[in-house]
């Protein structure tokens, strides 16, 4: 069995981290190498992990490095594949096993993007599992539980729900996608080749930056609806001023780092337009501050510029506009 490394970034979320580590112990796939990178927490997260989870490797950065801290964990990982998690997310019980199957099936698959669902979905799954166990005789438990465990929280026999008016035209759209950093698997060899998260971003859009490099290296990122992770984070966190500031600044940087001409010119104009438009519509100056922050450090970003191949630039799906709609 291939070793799978799990890298979790923690910052002051002791209780959520604890639950995530408990869920990882319940994983059907083993062996796992679990690495917690602590980003200078001031709660007792580190002590808790060392005391209650002695099998976990802890890396302490001593200060909040943002997403750069993930790279410390990636360097430490020895597994064939790496699962990336937040301190408030964890995979469904069968997710890592299914991820390994997908990687083995397709050598060009660089990232397995998990279906990251809200924590409420996990609680619902637990409730249903409990009900099933209560209703079923001991002899039946094994089969029932296995069936449930193989398809967490969902009823996949739903093909009949698809509207018949368009059921013949539902082939997946061909575009290049990014992934959600609260639940994803990546080949370690690929990560070594293309590099980890962009430390200069600090927070947000780091997955998309990595996604550009992965597609450009000839690997795929694919989403699997049956490989599930649960995430506690509330989207209301995005209503803090920090989110639109980092999102917007990093969108400029993403474009300047990766987009070849002529896309770099048109997308920069588009982003400037969004900054002004949404600043007026939402009465929020944070977008203009973010644009200023991006322009101020343009020299540093252009040093890192490596335009991607044309097919990547054309097909990469980056939700530029959506990032301006989280704030107000």
């Amino acid at each position: 069995m291939d070793i799978v490394s799990v890298v979790i970034l923690n910052w002051n979320r002791r209780n959520d981290l604890r639950e995530g580590l408990i869920r990882l112990r319940e994983q059907s796939y083993q062996p796992l190498e679990i690495i917690v990178v602590d980003n200078g927490s001031t709660d007792d997260s580190v002590e808790m992990v060392k005391r209650d989870f002695p099998e976990v490797h802890v890396i302490e950065t001593g200060e909040n490095l943002g997403v750069e801290a993930y790279n410390r964990g990636f360097l430490h990982a020895t597994g064939e594949y790496i699962v990336i998690l937040d301190d408030d997310s964890f995979p469904a019980v069968d997710a890592i096993g299914k991820m390994v199957e997908q990687f083995r099936r397709d050598p060009q698959l660089g990232v397995v993007a998990f279906d990251v669902r809200s924590y409420g979905q996990f609680e619902e799954w637990q409730r249903k599992r409990h009900e099933d166990i209560s209703k079923t005789t001991q002899a039946k438990i094994s089969k029932s539980l296995q069936e449930k465990l193989s398809v967490p929280e969902c009823d996949m026999s739903n093909k009949e729900k698809l509207s018949t008016s368009a059921s013949d035209d539902t082939e997946p759209v061909e575009y290049y996608m990014s992934f959600n950093g609260a639940g994803a698997g990546i080949r370690r060899e690929l990560l070594n080749r293309v590099g980890g998260y962009p430390g200069e971003f600090f927070l947000y859009m780091n997955e998309t930056d990595l996604a550009f490099r992965i597609w450009n290296a000839g690997y795929k990122i694919k989403f699997f609806p049956d490989i599930v992770a649960y995430h506690k984070a509330s989207p209301t966190n995005r209503q803090s001023w920090r989110a639109p500031l980092y999102y917007t600044r990093n969108l400029f940087w993403l474009v300047w780092k990766h987009q070849p001409a002529p896309y770099v010119f048109t997308l920069t104009f588009q982003l400037l337009y969004y900054c002004f438009y949404f600043a007026m519509e939402q009465k929020a100056s944070v977008y203009l501050k973010a644009a200023w922050a991006a322009f101020r450090q343009m020299g540093m970003i252009l040093e890192l510029r490596k335009p991607v191949q044309d097919h990547v630039a054309r097909n990469m799906r980056v939700p530029y506009r959506v990032n301006f709609t989280f704030y107000r």
Binding site: D115, V116, R117, S118, G120, Q121, E153, C154, D155, M156, N158, K159, K161, L162, S163, S165, A166, D169, T170, E171, P172, V173, Y175, F223, P225, H231, P235, T236, Q239, W256, P260, V264, F265, T268, F269, L272, Y273, Y274, C275, F276, Y277, F278, M280, E281, Q282, A291, F295, M298, G299, L302, R305, K306, P307, R321, V322, F324, T325, F326, Y327, R328
Partner: protein, 164 residues
């Protein structure tokens, strides 16, 4: 499935599924008697089908943002009891096209549900006013972006870059 005799509610999938996870139970709570249909881009069909509360998934066949002139026939040809347009913030800012789409669907009630989960009726007069106001904002934004973009193009072009 007899669509004629049942009450149907259409939910436009305009927000991430993590938010939809919270909206779907709320919609069923507010409209307990209705069947629930979800209109989603093709990449979301499989995920939308996973909800036990969802009775029908209607694919939106375009790849761009929701556009009222491109709504599928499966939506336009039916009479709905309610249409719900979720937005990923408090105000609905940036979701003007989705609210427009909702109003273009023939239904008895049109609702917006925001990030905290508050449901408010969509009023056509308010949408009309926002259309006019946003048109003005767009005009100003184009001018302002042009003023900054031109010097940026010069600076970017002059900057020495390796490998290009």
């Amino acid at each position: 499935m007899n669509k004629e005799n049942k009450k149907w509610c259409l939910l436009i999938r305009s927000v991430p599924f993590q938010q939809l996870d919270k909206i779907v139970p709320k919609v069923k709570e507010k409209f307990p008697e209705v069947q629930l249909a979800v209109l989603t881009h093709r990449h979301g069909v499989e995920m939308a089908s996973k909800y036990q509360e969802v009775d029908e998934v209607i694919p939106y066949l375009e790849t761009g943002s929701f556009d009222r002139s491109r709504l599928p026939e499966a939506v336009r040809s039916r009479s709905w009891d309610a249409v719900i347009a979720p937005v990923a913030n408090e105000s609905g800012s940036g979701f003007h096209n989705v609210l427009h789409c909702a109003l273009a669907v023939p239904a008895k009630q049109h609702w917006m549900v925001n990030l905290p989960g508050e449901m408010t009726p969509i009023q056509s007069s308010k949408i009309l006013w926002q259309t006019l106001r946003n048109g003005f904002y767009a005009f100003v934004a184009v001018l302002a972006a042009s003023v900054l973009w031109l010097p940026w193009v010069v600076a970017f072009s002059l900057y020495p870059r390796r490998g290009e």
